[in-house]
Symmetry: C2
Subunit: 430 residues, 2 copies
């Protein structure tokens, strides 16, 4: 593979010093970053030189919670509370889902994510082979798991566990390392304790992390207390889950002492701020979670509850909401929000040795923003402009493992027109 | 002027029945709408037929509070509380402002607004002749006022009042009716009661409405009580302001009985949800204001506290935030949010006989969204997609008074490159 270098960019490294390099360059070869710094005067050793003329260059964003197949349900049901939305709208229609739905729904989601600068996403759903094949073909990076809902017969649960285990085993470190896997009980309120214990054992056996929904709504926490005598955090701790690396999605309704437990085990959190607002689930105690030293990343959840997968919206929302709610304009400054969308996202899925910042030796997963627009003027403060004034729609070029997957705002690895045709064909039958 | 018709659009009329017309058409001539309905089979009477092939067509958005000149200060100071931000950052730098700053800052703001589908905006600032000339040239619509801060000598106040009055008189109904004016004391905490009374008298004399900042922060309300023995609403009522049509910006800290006063006088409100969050001013009681029957519209405030002028962000934010804050996913549904950004915006500035909805006889101010993108698929519910998944960046074409001002995402009436050059030239001196 040839030696390439991007020159004269505004480089947001997101490294340990949060270096911002004006007139900076990033070089890459064989999918890895080989240089980050000021643009060198001698460029003769490079095969391809791309001058980005001041545009922002930053690590691809990491979306740590979602259900890509569900994009077929975007706008199918809005303005309803979570349980009604799930039980009356989502679950009945999802029961009719086939591999075809998973395939085209996932492709639609991948287009949205790549177009808006997400280069790595977490997915928890079923028909995961379809999801993995779509990830492989599109050239995006993903940490995938077959989410297990424990309702129904013992045979059904056993077959789900086998399916989830074989998926996790077969696809881990595939697609040139772009796909990694996890084991995933859906939630404490949909999986009985013994089923969760079996899944945890399997995760230990396969040496894989765990991903689970936890404490998204107040009613789910109350149900947990009624059924098992404990709030979800203590309940999962007792079931041994947190001995294994765990990423919990939501963590909206967690008390101070529960955060101490999460911190003790280094449990990672995916904050899904927009989905939580839209479903009226509540507002997670983000400043407190951060002050405990917990790694908090950002997730979109599915486009059925968001309703898009543009992580730039989460980026701005975390930097806005807590200021207003806590009457403190200094909370979650722009730089912290951007860390949550990049390096903390990588840490939350145990891939921070490979992605999440622009550093020599890491994977060449990065994005270029078109900043020659009014929204980015005057050029006072690039990180402020990116977080407070930018949009995922401004992402121009996207590279994963050094390969260009978005060019001038168009996906080059997925046939957008075909995908739009297929999702409308499928959704007309709902 | 020729007879034009847009055909096969998804028309969001925002009329009294909130009609959504699939395969709809809108015709216009001499700047006015002459037809709205299903696409006619016979189009032979039209000089120009534009087939938008399913794209959304809706009224241009109305941004009811802002300070266009301040876009030069985007990203100049973030993550600070309002008073510190104003007193230590904004006011000192604004004191150095010249007509040149007003001219180029306003042009930058107009580009942002037109590009993201705002066709009418409210502006309160100084050097307003520059603002009005920029509005005239760009072909946008605006309701403008010279905001008066009452500090300093009596002579200074008098000269401001004269300047504000002559501006309001000279520019009202100019630019082919696209410019209207108001009279504007900055706020109760920057204008003494007698100065406010003088401004109100002048508004009565000129038969113009009043625009004022009110109850944006808790500390400003407390100051009002200390200084004048009343909270701002009662204080302004006593000064006779509400006898004249009034638009208040913010109304964040208003109690139930204060809302009754606002409702009694039909005082209009501009909700500035994003600016209020970012400056940690608080969260306005929007559901209560609406339940009192008060007209609530949306404003961006300036890009120094937002940090952009894309009203689609306010549109989504009002439909999200209150659900999460009040634990009620049915609050401010998508359609209500869109009304706030369109027809309620027009009502808030007393122009609803001319703009805010697509109806025969109204002005041809409308926008076309590029919905042939993943974010708008599958085609379940256009208004949901627009509010929850859309972005101002998806606005493709913009018309004001039947004249195209944005074409394929580019402003055709303002030289974007020149404006970007000038704002950076000016801001380098800060």
């Amino acid at each position: 593979m040839s030696k390439k270098i991007m020159t004269n960019g505004t480089i947001m490294t997101m490294d340990a010093e949060n270096r911002l390099i004006k007139k900076g360059a990033i070089a890459f070869e064989d999918g890895q970053i080989t240089f980050v710094g000021e643009t060198p005067s001698d460029l003769s050793s490079y095969d391809e030189i791309i001058d980005v003329d001041g545009d922002y260059v930053l690590p691809g964003l990491v979306n740590t919670h979602g259900h890509a197949s569900m994009s077929l349900l975007r706008g199918y049901a809005d303005d309803l509370p979570l349980q009604q939305w799930l039980e009356e709208k989502m679950w009945p229609i999802e029961a009719t889902y086939t591999k075809d739905h998973a395939k085209w729904g996932t492709n639609l989601s991948i287009i949205e994510m790549l177009r808006t600068g997400t280069t790595t996403f977490v997915d928890m759903y079923d028909n995961m082979d379809e999801v993995a094949m779509a990830v492989d073909a599109a050239g995006i990076r993903a940490r995938l798991c077959r989410g297990m809902i424990g309702f129904g017969s013992e045979e059904l649960r056993q077959s789900k566990l086998e399916e989830a285990s074989s998926f996790a085993r077969n696809w881990n470190n595939q697609a040139n390392g772009r796909i990694t896997t996890m084991m995933s009980p859906h939630s404490p309120y949909t999986c009985a304790p013994d089923f969760i214990e079996k899944i945890v054992s399997k995760a230990v056996e396969l040496n894989l992390p765990i991903h689970i929904h936890m404490s998204e709504t107040q009613s789910e926490v109350e149900l947990n207390v009624r059924e098992y005598g404990e709030r979800p955090v203590k309940h999962l701790e007792k079931l041994g889950m947190f001995e294994q690396p765990t990423l919990v999605a939501h963590a909206v309704h967690v008390e101070d002492w529960e955060m101490d437990i999460l911190a003790k085990y280094d449990v990672k959190v995916s904050n899904n701020i927009i989905s939580n607002l839209k479903l009226a689930s509540g507002i997670a105690p983000l400043p407190a979670l951060l002050s405990k030293g917990i790694t908090v990343s950002l997730g979109t959840d599915s486009s059925a509850s968001n309703n898009n997968l543009d992580l730039f919206e989460e980026l701005k929302q975390v930097a806005m909401l807590y200021k207003g709610v806590h009457n403190d304009a200094t909370l979650i400054p722009a730089e912290k929000a951007l860390q949550m969308a990049t390096i903390h996202g990588a840490e939350a899925i145990w891939l921070d040795d490979q992605i999440g910042s622009l550093e020599v030796g890491k994977q060449a997963d990065f994005i270029v923003m078109n900043t020659k627009q009014a929204f980015y003027q005057p050029a006072h403060n690039p990180i402020s402009h990116l977080v407070y004034s930018g949009s995922g729609r401004d992402v121009k070029d996207v590279y994963v493992q050094g390969k260009q997957v978005v060019k001038n705002g168009e996906c080059v690895t997925v046939d957008e027109e075909r995908v739009i045709f297929e999702v409308n064909r499928l959704s007309q039958k709902f």
